[in-house]
Structure formats: C-alpha cells, structure tokens
Amino acid sequence: MASEIKQGALELVNHLPILQVITPMLIAPILVVFNNKTLSWLLSFVGALACLFISILLIQAVSDGSILTYYLGGWAPPIGIEYRIDAANAILLLLISIISAIVLIFSYSSLHAEIPEEKHTLFYSCFLLCLTGLLGVVATADIFNVFVFLEISSLSTYVLVAQGAYLDRRALSASFNYLIMGTIGATFFVIGIGYIYMATGSLNMMDIAERASQLGDNRTIQAGFAFIVVGMGLKLAMVPLHVWLPNAYTFAPTVVTCFLAATATKVALYVLIRFVFSVFNYEDSFVNELFFLLLMPLAVIAMIAASVIAIFKQNLKKLLAYSSLAQIGYMLLGLSLMSQKGLASSLVHMVNHGFTKAALFMSLGAFMLNTKNVYIKSLRGLGKSMPFTSAAFLIGGLSLIGVPGTAGFISKWLLLEAALETGYWLVAILIIVSSLFAVIYIWKIVEVLYFSESSESYDEVSVLTLMPVWILALFCIFLGINTSLTVDVANMATEILFK
C-alpha cells in the first residue's frame, strides 16, 4: 500500500511540467460557470498558489543541472509535443508564478477601484488565461506550441489592457494598437517557423538544432531566424518596435500593468534566448553578426533614449513604462554580448527587474487608490500621509537605479562585468550613464513625495493592500543580499544553454 502511494506520488512529480501549465487553464472556465466575484478571486488565488508550489518543486528538481522532459499524450518527440524544463525556464516559471500570486493579493483590495464589480469574474478568467499562455511559452520545447501559447497570452492581454477603459477611454486605442502590433509580431514569428520547418522538417527544438547543424550554412534558416528576431522584437518591445508599450502600460488597470511589466516582455525575451541557443547555433557567424551589428546598438539606444524620455514624463505610469523600455535594453544588451557572463546577467536582470518594476507599479497603484490619478503633482507630500507605500516605492526606485544592497545592483554589476570582460568600454560607460538618468527620474518622484507640502492629506491604504506591495519591496532587498536563487541558477542555466 505504502509503495503504491509512493508510486502515485512519483507519477505526479513526472507530470509537473504539464500541471504547471494546465492548472490555470482549467480554473479559468470554472470561474465563468460560478460567476461569483469573491469565489473567482479565491479560485484564481488558489490556482496561482498551486502554480507557485509546482514551480518551486520544478526549480528544486532542475537546480542541479538536470533536465525534466514531458511527452504530451505519451507521443515521443519529434512527432509529439515535448515540454522541457531546465534551469533557464524553471527560474522564469518561478518568476511568473510568484508575480501572479502577489498581483492577485493586490487585486482583491484594489480592483474595484478600476473595474466595475460585475466584470470581475471575466477579468480573473482572462488573467488566468494570460498566465496559462505565459507559462506555456516558457515550458514548451515545440516551436509551433510557442506560437499558440504566445497568442493565448497576447489575446487575453489585449482584453486586460482594454479594461482600463472604465477609467480612461484611451485604453481602447492603446489596446487596439497593441493588438495590431502584437499580431504582426506573431505572424512574423509564424513565417519564421514556416521557414525553419521548410528547411528541417521538424518542430521540436532539439531535433531542429540537430538537423540544422547537418545542413550547415542555410539561407532559409537564416531568413527564418531574421523573421523570428523581428517578431519577438515586436513582442518584447525592442526599441524601434516599442511604440505599443508606453500607452498599453499607462492605460491598463494597475493590476494588469504590474503583471505585464514583470512578466510579458521577459517571456518574449526568453523565447528569443531559447531560439538563439537551443534552436539555432549561437556560434554561427550570421547569428553573431546580427546580434553585434543590430541588437547591441538598438539595446544601447533603448537604454539611453528611453531613460531620457522618462525624465520628462508627468504621468508616472508612462514614466515607468519608458523606464521599462530602458531596462529591456539592459537585458537585450546582456544577450547580445554573446558571452556566458552576459547571458547570465540578462537572466538575472529579468528576475530582478520583474520584482522591481512590479513593486514600483504596485505602489503607484496604492497611491492611485487615494489620489485617483498618477500625475506627479498629485503625489505631493504623500511621504508623510502614506509613509509605508512611499517607503516601498523608494525601495523599488533604489533597486531600479541599482543602489548596492538592492536587486538592481546585482544584475547591473553583472552586466558591467560582462561588458568589460568582452572589452566594450564604451558600452560599460553608457550603462552607468543610463543609470544616472534613472537617478534623475526617480529623484524627481522622491522629491515630490518627501520634500514638498501637500494641500490634501490622505489615509494610509489598508493592510491588505500594503502587504503585496511590501512583499515585492522585500524581494527587491532580499535578492540584492542573497543571490543564491538568482545568480547560481542563472549560471547553471547559461552552462546548459552554452553547452
């Protein structure tokens, strides 16, 4: 009997990769059936916690460098769809699950301020579908499956962004523009997949890598790669393709902005990393030149230009959205250095920036519960009347700048080291310049919060609202002090990817 139970438990462990993805997917329709606001929240939260639990088990299983595989329906690859978990995607699964659970705590006390209550059930349902899509993109090892999950997450994201229309009608046009751009991106991605399939006759990442290496220098595969870079560039808001992002982040409900800023662009970047290292050959001169001549300059432009634009923004959500563009520049830069250290810094920055930006957007959301808008002048003197939220914002801001002792410092330091190691002095200097711009725009907000008199006084928000904000702020500090979770796993991941 005991052995049977153990057998059953063992089997469950084997099914973790698929459970990670389908748990939120199965809960989403159940919410709509019950159509009860509180129950919806509760079920979504339980689902997010289950995802979190699974992702912790997964990262424990792969942290020693092993790889978990799962064959859907028992069909072995390359015919069947394979889910493949290694250190690189386990850390992202963990990031997405943690952020979704924290964001759901926040939404319980704040969502009613932005969305009418009768729409809450559908909102949570969409949120879970978005979560499913993001987790699926990360977990799968089948390139067409990546596209399907990407569109599941994108379609639900468009809906979620449009929910901001209850406060500001500009959310609708922001969502529409995002839909147009996102669909063009996804379609470019599909063309890329088509080219790869034409050349190799396979859709499984490992199988393609094997077959492509036998083909040698192949123009079809290179064209496919170029299409995929452009498609993913649109989804991850690489600089000339970023125009959808500032408006989408500004006008979406805060809960959605928080979730997207922390996860969606990172997932698209992860897809790019996965394609470069697991599908294509990163040593290929075509891939190297593309990254060196195209992506590195674009990443540097993003770092500098987006930071400068952020300084002049009065709407704080827009300010943080532009700062997100700059931070995406850092991540792309780490990748385009094409070195182990560079990639590790990119992965660590994905996680650290995820927590940092979520903390900043969420504390803005808490301010917004009182002030009703996020223009910089409405935050005057809130440092006194809302001390806890302001302190959390300050911690997030310090982490964004990269002050020692916070999460942002670790990843920026790694990126600097990687840039110096490869000998790009100018790039290293520009990283520091961009951080100085971050000091300017964060200081602008801190000055308004702490050093200006306010005509109005507000009460501090409720404990339930403060709790998720502070969990994120503490993560910003914790990841700056204890780097075993991020840096060690990222190093393990780069070793697997560079194998």
Binding site: F144, F147, V148, E151, L155, Y158, V159, A162, A165, R169, R170, L172, S173, S175, F176, L179, I180, T183, I184, A186, T187, V190, I191, G194, Y197, M198, Y375, K377
Partner: protein, 141 residues
C-alpha cells in the same frame, strides 16, 4: 532571360505569398481607418496561411489517406499534412484576433464616435489640453 522567367514561374506560390503579404502589411501601416487596418491584418495573415499550405503540397500528391493496406502504398505520393494542420490552428488564432479587434472597434466607436485614427488622436489631444488647462487654473487660484 529564360532562366529568369523560370525562376519567377518556378516559385510562383512564393511570389504570390510575397505580394499578398506586402500589400496586407502596407494596408495596416498606411490606412487610418481601424476597420481597414483589420482587413489589412487579415490579408497579411492569409498570405502566411497560403505559404504554409504551399510548402506542404507535393506535385501530383494526393490526400494523405491510407487507402488499401494490401497494395504497395509506399509508392503513393501524398501531400504533407502537418503544415496544413498547423495552419488550421493559426486560422483559429487569426479569427480570434479579428473578432477581438472588431469588438474593440465597436467600443472605440461608442466612446469616440469615429473609427478614424487621426480623429481619435485629435480627440485625445483635446482631452489632454483640457486637463492641462484645468490644472493650470487650479495652481493659479
């Protein structure tokens, strides 16, 4: 000259795919009417569907159905069904995107009473100026 013509004729499906794809993309970028944008997006997506279908087709190939087990089936040429199946999924995604886009257009029309991008931007600009004026008055008073 002859080889050039052959090159064009031999890759006819690809040329059609390229023309459709570029015209779709051009419509999306150049038109200000939101409905026309969605139409352009559809043409763009359809070109990719055609591309997928054409790469699965074999000259003289039949449908991939096992007709007679006793006969020597290995000699039968059939079209590769996998790209066709893939594109069924992509078509479903495309329909969902179109439906969502149209739903958003309905909402935009309810709020703005126009579906022209330029008009929407003008209205947004007016809103912003009104907001700024109100704030200036508040700070002056």
């Amino acid at each position: 000259m002859n080889s050039g013509l052959n090159f064009i004729y031999g890759h006819l499906p690809y040329w059609l795919f390229i023309i459709l794809m570029l015209s779709g993309l051009f419509i999306v970028v150049s038109r200000g009417n939101l409905i026309k944008k969605i139409v352009g997006l559809n043409i763009f997506q359809t070109s990719v569907f055609m591309f997928y279908i054409s790469i699965g087709k074999m000259k003289g190939g039949t449908a991939p159905i096992l007709l007679d087990k006793s006969a020597n089936n290995s000699a039968v040429i059939y079209s590769n069904p996998l790209p066709h199946v893939l594109i069924l999924t992509a078509i479903v995604v495309g329909i969902a995107t179109t439906a969502l886009g149209l739903a958003l257009i309905i909402k935009i029309r309810e709020e703005y009473e126009t579906v022209e991008e330029d008009d929407i931007q003008k209205l947004d600009q007016n809103d912003l100026e009104k907001y700024n004026k109100k704030n200036v008055m508040e700070t002056n008073s």
